[in-house]
Amino acid sequence: MVLIVVVAGVYFTTRHHGAPPGIRGTGAGEHSLAPDFSLPNLTGQKLDLSSYRGKVVLLDFWATWCDPCREEIPHFVDLQNQYGEQGLQIIGVSMDDGPEPVRDFCQRFKMNYPVVMGNAEIGELYGGVLGLPIAFLLGRDGRIYSKHIGATDISVLEREIVNLLGSKASSS
């Protein structure tokens, strides 16, 4: 009973967390190539986006202090668990000002995918990351198939991921 009350409380206080009106995920009509980047992960080693070519990549721009971002993370962990073997790779790009809070956060949330530290340059490369979260879904061919601004319904993302995992069109 308590659990029901808690779940109901969480639901009613968070159900407006969907993307704001007018800002929904939009398919990238021309499926432009995702800009490549090489950014440090939380141990300082470089992660190159291009090394994930052949996988479906969910690129998540987020920050530890961003409420909607935090709410999405456990779902992303689940998605990585569920679809990792089929070729999904989630990559978090933290827009925090430093790695310390990100390290703590990753441990606390048991994040099972790589996180790199973003900067203004990558934000501009991806058309300006001037609000969080923003997620880009890349096909196996490295092209951008959708962009979602704001917290996104996970079932929508999952549907797109499944489509891309099974799509020949997005294979290089």
Binding site: V2, G9, T13, C66
Partner: protein, 159 residues
């Protein structure tokens, strides 16, 4: 006097349930939507003030992350750090401490949809606790990109 077992169970469930809802509400209490409407300013209003030769120019402080500030910010505004962190709040207090308490100050962030911004409300609270009486918080409904940059309002980049 002993209460019936069934009644005690219901009472306990009610107490725990109420406490859970209160705790959940508290977890979401640090949100911009708690700022009174009288302390908000819309982007178009601010642009008019900035463009007017007669209007008093405010001190504008961005209380989001530096990565966002470096990509785009209001020209002349200062970066102070995400005010959901105590270190940024300390920087904010230090920055405004010498100023007259009637100084016109604009706070803004735009990191997230308004009701989820964790930064503007702590900053607004801090300034009011210090006695500042002329503080306005820029109402950014969705994010700084959609509600400022894409509207064609003035933007600066870099540090």
């Amino acid at each position: 006097m002993s209460l019936p077992v069934k009644f005690r169970q219901v009472l306990l469930i009610f107490i725990f349930g109420t406490a859970s809802i209160a705790a959940t509400s508290l977890a979401f209490a640090y949100q911009a939507s708690l700022i009174p409407a009288s302390r908000l300013i819309n982007p178009d209003e601010l642009v008019k003030i900035l463009q007017s030769a007669k209007s008093e120019k405010p001190l504008m402080i961005q209380v989001g992350s530096h990565v966002l500030y470096a990509q785009a910010h209001i020209p002349g505004s200062e970066y102070i750090g995400p005010a959901s962190s105590e270190s940024a709040l300390q920087s904010l207090r230090k920055r405004v401490e010498p100023l007259p308490r009637n100084k016109f100050i604009i706070l803004y962030c735009g990191c997230c949809p308004w009701s989820h911004c964790p930064n503007v409300q702590p900053a607004d609270n801090a300034l009011h606790a210090m006695g500042f009486t002329n503080v306005r918080v820029l109402y950014i409904a969705n994010n700084f990109g959609a509600d400022w940059v894409e509207k064609g309002y003035p933007v600066a980049k870099g540090d």
